[in-house]
């Protein structure tokens, strides 16, 4: 048995440490520990603040999923104060959320995750002409032709399209070679490039992926221009309680939003469609297909046992969350829990999530047995509902080492700045994978009446990928590859969602409604003396909830249960391991002192640690299916 630590885990947001015990003979991980190693105390900072400002403070939880916490925050405050936002504000917020999702997923796949799969060193062995052939093959084999029905098509031709010429790939290869020869490897320095996993893909795939790494690094910025138009900047665009600050006028050129500004948004959405459809999904499927063919279907962990979702994209403005109207309006009704999906969609158990669950302290609570916090007095051994949550830091020393020089953390005691969130006392995985598992299971079990276009598209996407991989969904989805694939499907879906709501916005403006803010309850004098609310949002990384208590115009308690907290949380003595730990223990390590597989499976969740740690207080066309190995014949032998 060998004890292995990765600290810091990089290419993530924030500070994460993982430790594991590996059986050197079998490569099996017998125990795993995930620790959020930083705590900023934002929950304590929220107390006494103006609830109308909460979005600005709490958005600073995270600059990677920027906008996510601002959106959940305004939703929570509006729920507490009984504010219904105008139609346009709902459409604009949805466009911003969907744009973020596409951009965040693309940055994750190409810049945070790709270097676990591909290597610039391997790319140097590629033949540029063969790579150009490969690019054409991948485009022919792996594009999934799904679109939101009846949405506008305002693009004459794809403005970004993968280059497939030998000269282009030679230029990329030459650049990589120059970097390697310079001895200044920069961001490519010190990685385990000799790990056997880098041999799973042919050199041409490596070169193609490195090229797309660079292309996407420069193009991702354009995907969030809707934030810049509607919110003034990115990262950290502006919101207001009651709607959006970006007034619309189709008569005044000085207005924050007018026809010219809307055209910028539309162009960004068109680009989101193109990048998802011609770069991201084909690349993901090309790499994922090879991995699955080589038997790499591990890393599922908790996804096989239990996943949770909250529901996404209110189609229209809703009257509240705690009263259940949010759930009734969702375009994607993934509000619920699916257990035992690993046994098959027919055997899995679906439990819906209702408004009553939100206020039930047994349904949602958080424990601190293995977290560096303590609950006071009689609450000491309890798990607390977020509306009653407490944040009191209680750091304890590691098992080996000192408080300021950790060797091994203590899995039997406290070891993380993340609390342990639970649904009816059980741990759940959240994220795009969870959303797809929930919608697919509901549909298979006849529990998804009158599916929306988005839900239909999700089912079609899963069926299409199952055909490509020649595996049933319950085999390929709850895996490391499946988690990463679900994110790419989610990007394609969200590009369509952005377009869908853009068209809705235009139609509503055409009908003469330009209102973006409901200011009737802006003044604190219009608020109840005491109020509490919850805001839900299916963020890029999964189910996010903000919980706020307001008294006499000020915040008295603010809590967030964040996707990465669900996934990266420390264990619970009764409920077992959280999703990161379970996934690590479901992953085989080939070289114990180069645990690339572990870094890869952890990154398949897209960790966002600042989110997780800081805030605890208190009808598609027929698919072209690949039947032969797409890689044969790509290399031109000289």
């Amino acid at each position: 048995m060998k004890h292995v630590t990765i600290d810091p885990v990089t290419r993530i947001e924030g500070h994460l440490r993982v430790e594991m015990t590996v059986d050197e003979g079998s490569g099996k991980v017998t125990d795993a520990l995930s620790s959020g190693t930083a705590w900023r105390g934002l929950e304590l900072i929220m107390n006494g603040r103006d609830p109308r400002d909460a979005w600005a403070y709490i958005q600073r939880i995270c600059g990677v999923c920027t906008t996510a916490h601002a959106l959940a925050s305004v939703r929570a405050v509006e729920d507490a104060l009984g504010i219904k936002i105008p139609k346009n504000a709902n459409y604009i917020r949805n466009i911003m959320a969907a744009s973020l999702t596409v951009q965040d997923h693309i940055v994750h796949f190409y810049h945070l995750h790709a270097l676990d799969w591909v290597s610039p060193v391997e790319a140097l062995k590629a033949d540029p002409a063969a790579t150009a052939n490969l690019q054409n093959t991948v485009l022919n084999a792996y594009q999934l032709p799904f679109r939101a029905p009846n949405t506008s098509d305002t693009e004459a031709y794809p403005k970004a399209f993968p280059e497939a010429t030998p000269a282009y790939f030679k230029a990329i290869k030459d650049k990589v070679q120059a970097i390697v020869q310079s001895g200044q490897l920069g961001i490519f320095a010190a990685q385990w490039w000799d790990h056997p996993d880098y041999q799973l893909l042919p050199p041409e795939v490596h070169l193609m992926a490195v090229a797309h790494y660079l292309e996407m690094l420069d193009k991702q910025r354009e995907l969030v221009t809707p934030h810049v138009v509607f919110g003034g900047k990115n990262p950290h665009p502006h919101y207001i309680v009651g709607g959006m600050p970006c007034s619309i006028s189709l008569e005044d050129g000085n207005a924050p939003v007018n026809t010219a500004r809307l055209a910028i948004v539309d162009r960004a959405i068109n680009l989101a469609r193109t990048l998802s459809n011609t770069f991201y999904l084909p690349d993901l499927l090309a790499i994922g297909h090879l991995y699955v063919q080589k038997g790499m279907t591990d890393g599922g962990g908790l996804a096989k046992t239990r996943v949770l979702g909250f529901g996404a994209y209110p189609m229209d403005a809703y009257s509240g969350t705690a009263n259940g109207d949010f759930f009734r309006q969702c375009l994607i009704r993934c509000n619920g829990v699916v257990e035992n999906f690993g046994a098959g969609a027919a055997q899995a158990k679906f439990t819906p999530l209702t408004a009553e669950d939100l206020s039930n302290p047994e349904a949602f609570n958080e424990g601190v047995a293995h977290a560096w916090y303590e609950y006071p007095g009689a609450k000491a051994d309890k798990a607390l509902h977020p509306w009653d949550g407490v944040t009191e830091a209680k750091f304890t020393a590691p098992k080996v080492g000192t408080p300021t020089d950790w060797k091994e953390l203590d899995e039997k005691s406290k070891y993380s700045w993340l609390k342990t969130p639970k649904w009816h006392g059980k741990l759940c995985e959240v994220g795009p994978l969870a959303r797809y598992i929930i919608i697919y299971t509901r549909a298979q079990q006849g529990m998804l009446p009158d599916p929306t276009w988005a839900e239909k598209m999700m089912i079609d996407q899963i069926d299409a990928v199952s055909k490509v991989l020649n595996l049933p969904p319950h085999v390929w989805l709850p895996t490391m590859v499946g988690r990463t694939a679900a994110r790419a499907l989610d990007a394609q879906l969200n590009a369509e969602i952005a377009k869908f709501f853009f068209d809705q916005l235009i139609a509503n403006l055409k009908a003469g409604d330009t209102q973006v803010a409901n200011m009737a309850k802006w003044e604190p004098s219009e608020w109840p003396k005491m109020a509490k609310g919850v805001g839900l949002y299916e963020a890029p990384r999964g189910a996010l909830s903000h919980w706020v208590n307001i008294e006499s115009g000020s915040i008295t308690n603010y809590q967030c249960i964040v996707p990465t907290t669900w996934n990266a949380c420390p264990r619970d003595d009764k409920a077992g391991h959280g999703a990161y730990e379970a996934a690590m223990m479901d992953t085989r390590v080939k070289v114990p002192d180069k645990p690339l597989e572990i870094a890869k499976v952890v990154r398949s969740f897209d960790p966002c640690m600042a989110c997780a740690t800081h805030i605890y207080n208190p009808e598609g066309e027929k698919l072209r299916v690949v039947t032969t190995d797409p890689y044969t014949g790509t290399r031109v032998e000289s």
Binding site: T5, D7, P8, T10, R11, E13, G14, R17, T37, A38, R40, G41, L42, I45, D50, D53, A56, R60, C62, G63, V64, T66, H111, L112, V121, S182, G183, Q184, L185, A189, A190, W193, L217, D218, R221, T225, V229, F230, G232, K233, N234, P235, H238, G242, G243, M244, P245, C246, S247, D252, N254, A255, P256, V257, T404, D405, W406, A517, W522, A610
Partner: protein, 364 residues
């Protein structure tokens, strides 16, 4: 910056022979997984001056600054990271992790001692010996101080690194503050903003790469070219302020007409930043242009200004209490002209004072 030396120059300085240099290059070639016929190319590269080495550390932060950095359009992130600098250590983009990554940090510090740029994002947390911000099993504050010692200069990116930021807001549970207290006498460039404008961030690095020295700084160590003007002075809505034309509520007729947001709490009048002139996304917008009152995110301690963001500033800048001036503006546009005159005079006086100070400094 001119002190940057090639590997060959480093060998010469240490009095090592050409033979040992070539041996080093052969070892380097095999280390990089290259075939031996590449040795001559490695030797050639090792004789050239290297790119400016940048080490990027993360303290108490949200990674929004790193994200802003990769939103830059000119230069593009790929051009900057692969052709203008050598980004040897960065938690967001670096391929490596864990022990080999930490070892690479130590090797980089040693190899480029006194010659690398330390970019830092996030605040330093010191309460309880820094256990609230740990990385690599050690407190961030310790790593930061160690890396800072060997830096040629430090760039503090974002309000967190400059003045503590969000985690430093009351009651500051983790004892967070700006990094400037922990840098000793090292030259530091403060680039506040939450986050700063992408091209401001890359602009500072490009200045170093293009001109071989740090950009000219103001009295708070901010690059003058990006922080020399208040947003208010460069705001395209300024004529509406001067004419006394204000939005009184979000989404009212004034808001739809793009009038001044001062009464909605806009912090433009007290905030030095490039939002008004450079703007975001190459001139596409900034919060005010999108109808949102500025929250003054480039100001130190802006989270604790004592008023909610929607409250009109009772006081700002050199004018002191302008509440009465604001009230007067609504009635008489002549007052606006008078105010404009007063503001301009104050700005001119400020500039004159700065220039005098700068000249005085030059004569020392």
């Amino acid at each position: 910056m001119e002190k940057r030396e090639s590997l060959w120059e480093a060998y010469l300085r240490r009095g090592l022979s050409r033979r040992s240099f070539i041996k080093g290059c052969v070892a380097l070639t095999s280390l990089m997984g290259l075939s031996t016929d590449m040795v001559s190319k490695v030797v050639e590269a090792a004789e050239k001056k290297p790119l400016p080495v940048v080490i990027w550390l993360h303290g108490h932060e949200c990674t929004g600054c790193d994200e802003a950095f990769i939103r830059s359009a000119s230069p593009l992130a790929s051009d900057l990271v692969l052709s203008s600098i050598a980004l040897e250590y960065d938690h967001l983009l670096s391929a490596a992790c864990g022990e080999p990554f930490e070892r690479h940090l130590e090797e980089t510090i040693k190899k480029y001692w006194g010659n690398y740029i330390l970019a830092v994002e996030g605040a330093v947390s010191t309460t309880d010996n820094g256990v609230y911000c740990m990385s690599g099993g050690k407190p961030f504050v310790d790593t930061f101080q160690r890396v800072a010692k060997g830096a040629m200069a430090i760039i503090a990116y974002g309000t967190c690194a400059v003045s503590g930021g969000i985690q430093g807001a009351k009651p500051n549970p983790t004892g967070s503050s700006g990094v400037g207290h922990y840098t000793g006498t090292k030259p530091i460039v403060n680039v506040p903003g939450c986050p700063p404008i992408p091209e401001v961030m890359t602009g500072v690095v490009m200045h170093v790469a293009l001109f071989g020295k740090l950009p000219p700084l103001d009295s708070e160590n901010r690059p003058k070219q990006f922080f020399g003007n208040r947003i208010h002075d460069t705001c395209y809505r300024r004529p509406f302020f001067d004419a006394g034309m204000f939005a009184d509520r979000y989404d009212d007729a004034g808001a739809k007409a793009g009038w001044c947001l001062y009464r909605l709490g806009c912090r433009g009048p007290e905030t030095y930043a490039s939002c008004g002139n450079l703007r975001w996304y190459q001139g596409m917008s900034y919060p005010i242009q999108s109808g949102a009152a500025c929250i003054g995110c480039a100001n130190s301690n802006f989270w604790d200004s004592g008023a909610s963001f929607s409250e009109r500033l009772p006081k700002y800048g050199p004018l002191g209490d302008v509440d009465t001036i604001g009230a007067g503006l609504a009635i008489a546009s002549t007052a606006g002209v008078a105010l404009h005159g007063a503001m301009s005079v104050i700005q001119k006086q400020k500039r004159a004072a700065e220039e005098a100070e700068a000249e005085g400094g030059a004569h020392k």
